[in-house]
Symmetry: C2
Subunit: 334 residues, 2 copies
């Protein structure tokens, strides 16, 4: 599949971009976006709640429309493109994955925190048994030293992942770090290596080029930067840059540009830009969900929330450890 | 001056950003922005019409407020920062430069098309005589082969320029090209080398890091990306990235972030993003002023305006040659 391409792009606007529109995608929107992406011959289109299958909860944000209806709309619309889903073990289940498969999804990316690849074993096994193309997805990858990242990627490969992505969830990595890490993954793995960027430090495109230079062949883009935080690598811009470099993506440049301008731009609540909040996330290297907690803690203890977030980044605090935010703020105030 | 810094940043929002707000800056806006940048200890702040001193004309767009009033407001407001102006020989004159100097401007950048450095000789001489710090600024630098770029930069140095900038006016260069070109300039020149990026291909930050890696020590930024086209390297993001890398800019990170969010963001007519038009400019490597002509020519001859712009880029058509656009379209239709 897509053997004639140098780099295989997965469009994530209908999954990662779900965060940017408060999970409000409708079936009509999905049909329009998928139709336009399909016309531009985008290989894979990911459709799921922003936090993956089963993410529609009070904790992660309720979807306006059941994601299975959106997946079905995407499958029915796409003639060329394949439909992908994201699954975070602990949020989504094998049962939900099977439903997505039955509806016609072809690819699943099983995602874990960069140090927790072991929780993906069962889901990767089951996905392979269902006949899905199955990739691993290591999130917040800047938090682990290279050796740990490589070890965890090898675990995913051993479970049956057919490619492993390094995911820069906070947009915190610099180009030389991306090059070094992707190079290490390429050396250690027998399967393909992928890269998923965020633009919090303005480096989504620069980092993506470094990943490709280091050998990554699976790349994520979000059209018109419709992704969480400051957005991802902008798909239509990536298509243009790679065409300039003679790297084959199979994407029709004019059609993807038109899709961005005419179909996707009108969906954005506001254009994607690097704001104080998204820059702080990238600089500190923490989850965006920490922002509100840090603001509250900062007010309570009269500490700049940015100082709190930077300290949380240094301590490599992860999702689920929000209790630590008040402790950190209190200690800083003392 | 600024000898303790690794990289000296010039903020161009009040000059390059003038394009993005149709040259509508008021004295109050300039005072607010300069005050916030000054508090963040930005070394240089450029204040001029978008096309440099004297640019307020029907051809280039009339300024709402006389640029000398804006320069005066900037000089009166700044306590730490130095005020810079841009001068394009043929648009601005030595007379106007003298007025800016008398008002308190410290730095001038004398700008020419990348192949026309010879027209800067007199203006660089005169600027030096006035006691201005005087830099050369080679625009649309992607249009010249490296040897030509180096030759033209050496001309500017020979006229007395104390630094020469490579300006990627269309945001058309890729990171490896930037590295190669800045390296060649560093090898050939005895004066400092600068870099001015645009974000049309999403590479303003990635290219800027490559320029610094190759030895550039003068870098332009525009706060909140308030610049022409898709904007420039976003100053507050650049400050964060360079702080992460341990490269000293002297800029106070929290203050520049606050300036962007609280003072500059409200001035933007709409947030900066990479649109179909700005992407086309970067991909084709042509002036933004060609866009409207190409659209009209495309309608007349039933050719996609993007094909016309790409052809104009290949032929290295420059400003003032707009007559060629219809010819090119006609030939393509045949």
């Amino acid at each position: 599949m897509f053997d004639d391409l140098d780099v295989v792009i997965t469009e994530v606007a209908l999954r990662d971009g779900s965060h940017a529109v408060s999970h409000s995608f409708t079936e009509e929107q999905v049909r329009n976006v998928v139709g336009a992406l399909d016309k531009a011959r985008v290989p894979y289109i990911e459709v799921s709640h922003g936090d993956g299958l089963g993410g529609s909860t009070l904790q992660y944000g309720l979807s306006k429309v059941d994601e299975f209806k959106l997946i079905q709309a995407a499958v029915e619309t796409a003639e060329f493109s394949k439909i992908a889903v994201l699954l975070l073990p602990g949020i989504g289940t094998v049962h939900e994955l099977r439903r997505a498969r039955e509806l016609g999804a072809s690819l699943v990316r099983v995602a874990t925190h960069v140090t927790e690849a072991d929780v993906s074993a069962q889901h990767i096994h089951e996905a392979r048994k269902m006949g899905l193309t199955t990739f691993g997805f290591l999130m917040m990858s800047h938090m682990a030293p290279i050796e740990k990242l490589v070890e965890q990627a090898k675990l995913m490969e051993s479970y049956g992942a057919e490619a492993v992505y390094m995911t820069d969830s906070a947009g915190a990595l610099l180009p030389d770090q991306v090059y070094e890490r992707i190079t290490a993954l390429k050396e250690a793995l027998n399967v393909e290596v992928g890269f998923h960027a965020h633009n919090n430090l303005g480096l989504a495109m620069g980092n993506t080029l470094e990943a490709i230079r280091a050998g990554a062949t699976r790349i994520d883009g979000s059209i018109r930067s419709l992704g969480a935080g400051a957005g991802n690598t902008q798909t239509e811009v990536l298509a243009a840059v790679l065409e300039k470099k003679g790297i084959r993506t199979g994407i029709d440049l004019y059609n993807i540009m038109d899709a961005a301008e005419d179909v996707v731009a009108p969906l954005l609540k506001s254009p994607q830009e690097i704001t104080k909040d998204s820059l702080t996330m990238g600089y500190a290297g923490v989850y965006s969900s920490f922002q509100l907690h840090a603001k509250r803690a900062g007010e309570k203890y009269d500490v700049d929330p940015r100082d709190i977030l930077i300290e949380l980044g240094k301590q490599k605090v992860v999702g689920g450890q929000e209790d630590m935010i008040l402790d950190v703020a209190k200690r800083m105030a003392e």
